[in-house]
């Protein structure tokens, strides 16, 4: 096999890791609260900017900046729920979607106000590793490892803890969880915080590899949505797998053509799958 193709495939897998984390977050929130945060990718952008600001402007150590960013985006997640979602939980779901659309506008333009439209970079240059002729960015490798670790941690949280089990339960039958002593609103807040934290984690991983600018959310946001719909909205495992499928399409498509065209392929694949499996690849 062509070594550059292999390289592209591996890079695709590594990229898939971060996308998978975001898909998990979005699916978690949708599965529990039944709402899609259109502005999810922009929360990641907020995290990236915070890391940039703390690390580059204030000279904080990178790891600390990342930790703070995760907490910060988790808090943002809670704010989004409390200020935007909770007041309209009763109205049509499309309203909640649109309200987060307003948030998207707001976040992107506010970031433009604060930072301008330039691309910002934290200037971290991690070495490129060579593995038998294949060149892989260690930043990517690290991001992948952390993403998988995050996913595993989430898995155990959901499987083993009481709150995690309550989260899984509420996604299956919202109305009667109260009978088990579960406070619905509390679970919503926890879920929003976790969703935010996952976005914060993704921010840490992305800032290592990419520049941040106010509209970076538009580059991977729609991709994440496609991934989630492909895997079945709310299906955590489906989204996880779909993330890798899509990232492979993009990596291989990008290898043979251009990055933008690879997105077109991904979308075409997505539409075709809509014909075949409208509820997601793994719908029962």
């Amino acid at each position: 096999m062509d070594i550059y193709l292999l390289e592209a495939i591996i890079n695709g897998i590594l990229l898939g890791g971060v996308l998978a984390v975001l898909a998990l977050g979005l699916n978690l929130i949708f599965g529990v609260i039944d709402v899609v945060w259109i502005a999810y990718a922009d929360l990641v952008m907020c995290g990236m900017y915070l890391i940039y600001y703390l690390n580059v402007e204030l000279n904080w150590p990178l790891l600390l900046a990342c930790a703070v960013a995760i907490a910060w985006v988790a808090a943002l997640g809670v704010l989004v729920h409390v200020l935007i979602i909770a007041p309209i939980l009763g109205s049509a779901p499309i309203n909640q979607l649109l309200a987060t659309g307003g948030l998207l506008f707001f976040l992107q333009s506010f970031a433009t106000l604060l930072f301008g439209t330039d691309f910002r970079n934290i200037g971290v240059r991690l070495p490129i590793i060579e593995l038998s002729g294949i060149y892989v960015s260690s930043a990517r490798l690290l991001a992948f490892a952390v993403a998988v670790a995050g996913a595993i941690a989430l898995y155990f949280f959901l499987r083993r803890t009481f709150v995690g089990t309550a989260i899984r339960a509420i996604a299956q039958d919202r109305d009667i969880v109260g009978l088990m002593g579960v406070d619905q609103r509390h679970i919503y807040l926890v879920t929003s915080a976790i969703g935010g934290a996952l976005a914060g984690l993704a921010a840490c991983l992305l800032i290592l590899q990419y520049d941040v600018h106010p509209f970076i959310g538009n580059t991977f946001g729609p991709l994440i949505f496609m991934i989630c719909v492909l895997g079945g909205l709310g299906d955590m495992i489906g989204g996880f797998v779909a993330a890798f499928v899509m990232s492979q399409i993009i990596a291989i498509g990008g290898y043979y053509f251009s990055t933008e065209l690879s997105y077109v392929f991904a979308f075409t694949f997505f539409i075709v799958l809509m014909f075949v499996r409208p509820r997601g690849m793994f719908s029962r």
Binding site: I94, G101, F105, G221, I271, P278
Partner: protein, 329 residues
């Protein structure tokens, strides 16, 4: 009253400075685009991807003009054709397979982004993010280019009226009840014999076609196209924002939304210059959230509700703005 308004609008160019003409044309064109969206949006078929249709509608005639010398009189219908085709390709499976609500919104969102990315990807042809300028030939009906604003004022006015006419045509047509039924309960509607797919597709294709037309004329007027301004998420959301804030339940609602967005843009530009790029959208964002929470029926809807209290106001206002229907709350 409508006749009086029409006369006033037609006579306007004689009294108004070019700068205000420019604003007016923008309001009319964007109002037309927003109205086109709301033709399907008002029934709950919320598309977050109309930027795709606008972009296609704008770029296709411009590309054909520059590269093939093809007159926009043919180029525009071709562009509309492409937009409609795309709407069909994406819409049919969605409707056939009951992709609705969230799913539909996300699919359309991805669509608009992909169209924008395609435009950028084909940068050798389209100029990518740097934008595209149609070859200027001065005053020409063949090229549909008119340096004097009056002509485009007339065109956009006609378009705007046309959009309202289509809105009313759907509002008063037999299809209207079917669409209301579908938006309330798709399955129930299907079970009473309504051809859900056909109705949804019909209104979607009309909406896509009109949006593409709006994009085309916008491109011809501005004589400059940029993927960010005529396609992509931002435009799609802007369309939704304006339509909702203005109010989708009344024909002029989206136009009120256009009034708001254009004035806001201009106001901010005049007040702050380029110091605060992004200020307008920041405010849009906050407003959209606030409107969804507190005034989901939009400005016009709110006025309508307020008017319901006053009988005289009701008679005058309603007859001018919309025809009451059984869907009135």
């Amino acid at each position: 009253m409508i006749a009086g308004l029409a006369v006033a609008l037609l006579a306007l160019p004689n009294f108004v400075a070019p700068y205000f003409m420019h604003l007016l044309i923008q309001i009319l064109l964007w109002g037309f685009v927003y109205t086109s969206w709301s033709i399907m949006g008002r029934f709950g078929f919320v598309s977050l991807g109309h930027g795709a249709f606008m972009g296609i509608g704008a770029y296709v005639p411009a590309l054909l003009w520059n590269y093939a010398g093809l007159t926009p009189w043919i180029g525009i219908p071709v562009g509309i054709g492409f937009a409609v085709l795309l709407a069909l390709i994406v819409g049919y499976p969605c409707f056939r397979l009951k992709v609705v609500g969230h799913y539909f919104a996300l699919v359309t969102l991805a669509l608009s982004q992909v169209v924008m990315l395609s435009i950028v990807a084909a940068r050798d042809v389209t100029g990518g993010s740097l934008g595209f300028t149609p070859k200027a030939v001065g005053h020409s009906w063949y090229a549909l280019q008119f340096p004097e604003k009056v002509y485009f004022y007339g065109i956009s006015l006609a378009l705007w009226f046309g959009g309202l006419a289509v809105w009313y045509w759907i509002d008063c047509g037999i299809g209207r009840e079917a669409l209301d039924a579908i938006s309330e309960d798709e399955e129930a509607a299907g079970s009473v014999g309504i051809n859900v797919i056909r109705e949804k597709l019909r209104v979607t294709l009309i909406s896509a076609a009109l949006t593409a037309l709006g994009g085309a004329i916008y491109g011809q007027y501005m004589m400059y196209l940029n993927p960010e301004t005529v396609s992509g998420i931002a435009v799609s959301l802007q369309i939704v924002f304006a339509a909702i804030v203005g109010g989708t339940y009344a024909a002029v609602g989206p136009t009120v939304g256009a009034l708001l967005t254009i004035s806001l843009n201009e106001g901010l530009r005049v007040a702050f210059g380029t110091n605060f790029i992004g200020a307008a959208n920041t405010i849009y964002g906050i407003l959209l959230v606030l409107f969804i929470i507190f005034m989901p029926r939009g400005i016009v809807g709110m006025i309508q509700d307020a008017m319901k209290g006053s009988r005289r106001g009701k008679a005058v206002f309603y007859s001018a703005i919309r025809r009451p229907s059984s869907a009135d709350q």
